[in-house]
């Protein structure tokens, strides 16, 4: 009897493996970040809109914030921009931008034309801040808690559904435990 069960078990195991692997909702290029649960790397960059201003994430310690990595070269960043504007209007959490591999003039034009959802946008001229955060593309969005630890990373454009399902519960939990 057990001899017949072996091929059946092998079939079921393969079917499960393929179902997981071929799931169309799964982004095959999305990698888990080893930085989850680790302190968020510090950065102190000039602001894209105003080079005399600094965007410094150590000043944000004690509050939950969202860091969104984007660039004007990034097609999908355009797709999520409206959602970022909607998120900013909710006033739930400060939204910090990290402008990655970009030109300042283009970025300024982008934010002036489309609207600026960010409390501040760090201008990562040489990609060093991005390396520290383990960024390998855009858009990428990080959630940092009040102790300055990375709680969550999302790769791909943020949609209203993703924001409600993945971000909002984590944000309210982090804000509750922080106070």
């Amino acid at each position: 009897m057990w001899k017949f069960l072996i091929p059946v078990a092998a079939f079921v195991a393969l079917a499960v493996l393929f179902a997981l692997g071929l799931n169309p909702k799964r982004d095959i290029h999305a990698l888990p970040s080893p930085l989850i649960g680790k302190p968020a790397p510090a950065f102190d960059l000039t602001d894209v809109m105003d080079p005399s201003r600094h965007v410094d994430n150590t000043a944000l310690k004690g509050q939950v914030y969202v860091l969104n990595v984007w660039g004007t070269w990034c097609f999908e960043c355009r797709a999520e921009h409206d959602e970022l504007l909607a998120i900013a209007r909710q006033h739930v959490v400060p939204l910090i931008g990290l402008d990655y591999m970009d030109q300042r003039e283009k970025a300024q034009q982008w934010l002036t034309q489309l609207g600026n959802p960010y409390q501040g946008v760090g201008f990562d001229t040489d990609g060093r801040t991005a390396i520290n955060w383990g960024v390998y593309g855009a858009p990428e969005t990080y959630l940092v808690d009040g102790r300055g630890q990375i709680l969550y990373k999302f790769i791909s454009p943020i949609t209203p559904d993703v924001w409600e399902r993945e971000f909002l519960p984590r944000i309210s939990a982090a804000q509750r435990s922080g106070t």
Partner: protein, 149 residues
């Protein structure tokens, strides 16, 4: 006829030599080679073992995307600053995870990757031995059953 064959052979050889030369060309970096030869060879080795996360099947030594160039700069700076190879790999895996290495170290998390070939060979060997033993126990019968009818 012979002459034509020689010509074809010469062309094939020339193409092969050309592509071999092209493949061994080091990645052209804006910074050029590191002056210290020992450092340069460690640099070549490290950058070939680090995965470019944008084009995930290329190493950062082979890739032209900006992230790969940023990571090469990081490797170069760390080498010149006197960091060890392990320090550099640790720095990269701390930020990008084990996936960044083409040659992941043997850890409890990766033993299956390293062990899978041996497990498969062992399973195959068990299957072959069982079949062989089963056949050895069968009566010797040279005439196939279907043809005796």
């Amino acid at each position: 006829m012979i002459r034509r064959r020689l010509l074809v052979a010469a062309l094939v050889l020339a193409t092969a030599a050309g592509s071999a030369l092209g493949a061994s060309d080091p990645t052209v970096d804006v910074y050029g080679q590191i002056e210290n030869h020992a450092l340069q060879s460690r640099y070549d080795h490290i950058t070939q073992d680090l995965r470019c996360l944008v084009c995930q099947n290329e190493s950062i030594a082979d890739s032209n995307v900006e992230l790969a160039s940023d990571l090469r700069r990081q490797v170069r700076e760390m080498l010149i600053a006197g960091k060890s190879d392990d320090d550099i790999f640790q720095y990269m895996t701390d930020r990008y995870g084990e996936f960044v290495r083409f040659n992941p170290p043997l850890t409890p998390k990766t033993w299956l990757i390293w062990g899978a070939p041996f497990i498969m060979v062992a399973v195959g060997a068990i299957v072959i031995i069982r079949i062989a033993r089963h056949r050895a126990r069968l009566p010797v019968d040279d005439e196939p059953a279907s043809e005796t009818k």
